[in-house]
Subunit: 254 residues, 2 copies
């Protein structure tokens, strides 16, 4: 049965979407069947996989409004299967506000799909609202991408508090898999200092190796496929491959 | 009477907070009295000005829950006056959901303060929720920071649609001042191509000059003051000074 992982950090622009797409591609290379789920009304993951979010029907919002089931929304991409999202999803906070058990929507919908995949990766929006709480309630573990800069570091304490709440209230077995250090700039001390402080302060494991900054990552979303699938060789793609192997417990043999 | 400007882009991590802090410092240098308002539950602006968000009382959330008026929350900093925020503000979406005229809260609260300042800058969170709608309803104009990368570019069309809605429904005179190109990397073509495409596609003015990437900006929040106030000389600080002059119609004489 699939392992469900939420990729979350309410700080914006830290590499959540890039991490989901890159890890999904790396896990596919290792022969795993992967479903990715876009839980961000921005639809960045949907767009990064080459789809035009506003032209899709149904999407995750149709599951929230009960017009469709999750399996009806699944799109196939050369790398992975995708549950897409678009801006309609911005209404989810209000749609779900008074619904009993609103935190368990994703967990319930994913239950029937767990036998069809090895990994489910959920891309969260930059907020701790109802969609991110749904992702944390549905997940077995959480991966926290952190840009190694002061402002991104601050949100981690808040996120860990929210994870504690979820573990206490809606998902007793939720674990933190660890931190992915994204957009790492090895040339400056700032990245190194922030990373060292982060790991010491929160006693969280660093997954694999830091992912180095490369403009190739910023260019990739325009062509609708991950750097890994394109065969682009930058230090960052190797780092994501190491992280994927570590997540599934495979021997790292790079 | 003060000009109210909302600094908004629902894409995360594009430099909204950095732009508010840097422009505020540049406007202060030009002799303007500036109030900045943190409308993001993350409290990044509050933190970047050297305060510890969780220790503050009252904050913007107390204005939302009617425990305090806006003027009660104002903190003085060597550069600017600040209306602070912390994570309590994450409850605003729910608190305001059924309140009549909920979009006009900030505009109403700011009305008494407009005679005390020349500029009010509002730092928005990475979402198009009720707090950002409040900022757009209270604002005279909107400044859109955009990181010159594909994923950040996508959100601009959505934001312009939301601005059109606000102009039609709650703030007839809202203008778009223009785009601030943040974290510009002059060494690669990607930044240049995305910027050129952005300006052509949306027919928006580019304010001043692109703000070049520098790790100094990522380091600044840790010391609680802007690069401009510290006297750090990087291309980015000069760009923010040019943008500030352009905003107030002053002769650019660098
Ligand atoms: N290793 C890297 N090197 C350089 N750029 C990167 C790297 N990883 C991601 N990026 C770029 O940084 C920007 C932010 O990344 P991304 O959109 O994945 O972050 P996010 O956390 O999902 O943002 P949001 O909070 O808006 O959902 C994107 O333009 C992306 O292409
Ligand atoms: N010109 C620049 N060069 C390099 N780094 C920068 C620059 N401007 C901002 N940064 C850094 O980039 C990161 C994102 O910037 P910032 O937090 O201001 O964006 P934001 O849009 O306010 O994010 P959020 O969506 O989370 O509110 C921060 O670590 C900031 O210090
Ligand atoms: Mg994202
Ligand atoms: Mg910010």
């Amino acid at each position: 049965t699939a392992i469900v992982r939420a990729i979350a950090n309410q700080k914006g622009g830290v590499g959540k979407t890039t991490t989901v797409q890159s890890l999904a591609a790396a896990l596919t290379e290792l022969g795993r069947a992967v479903l990715v789920l876009d839980a961000d009304p921005q639809g960045s993951l949907t767009f990064s996989l080459g789809f035009e979010p506003d032209e899709l029907d149904p999407t995750l919002n149709d599951v929230v409004t009960k017009r469709a089931s999750l399996v009806d929304t699944i799109l196939q991409h050369d790398e992975v299967d995708l549950v897409p999202a678009n801006i309609d999803l911005a209404g989810a906070e209000v749609t779900l506000l008074s619904r009993t058990g609103r935190e368990y929507l994703l967990r319930g919908e994913l239950a029937d799909l767990l036998d069809s995949y090895d990994d489910v990766l959920i891309d969260c929006s930059p907020s701790l609202g109802v969609l991110t709480i749904n992702a944390l309630t549905a997940a077995d573990d959480v991966i926290i991408p952190v840009q190694c800069e002061t402002l991104s570091h601050r949100g981690v304490a808040q996120l860990l508090e929210t994870i504690d709440d979820v573990r206490r209230l809606t998902n007793r077995s939720l674990r933190v898999a660890g931190i992915v250090a994204t957009m790492f700039d090895g040339r400056t001390n700032h990245s190194k200092e922030v990373l060292a402080d982060l790991l010491a302060r929160y006693e969280l494991p660093l997954l694999g190796a830091p992912v180095r900054k490369s403009v190739r990552f910023a260019e990739a979303p325009a062509v609708g496929t991950s750097l890994l699938a394109k065969g682009t060789r930058v230090p960052g793609t190797a780092a994501y491959r190491i992280i994927a192997r570590e997540l599934i417990g495979a021997e790292v043999s790079d």
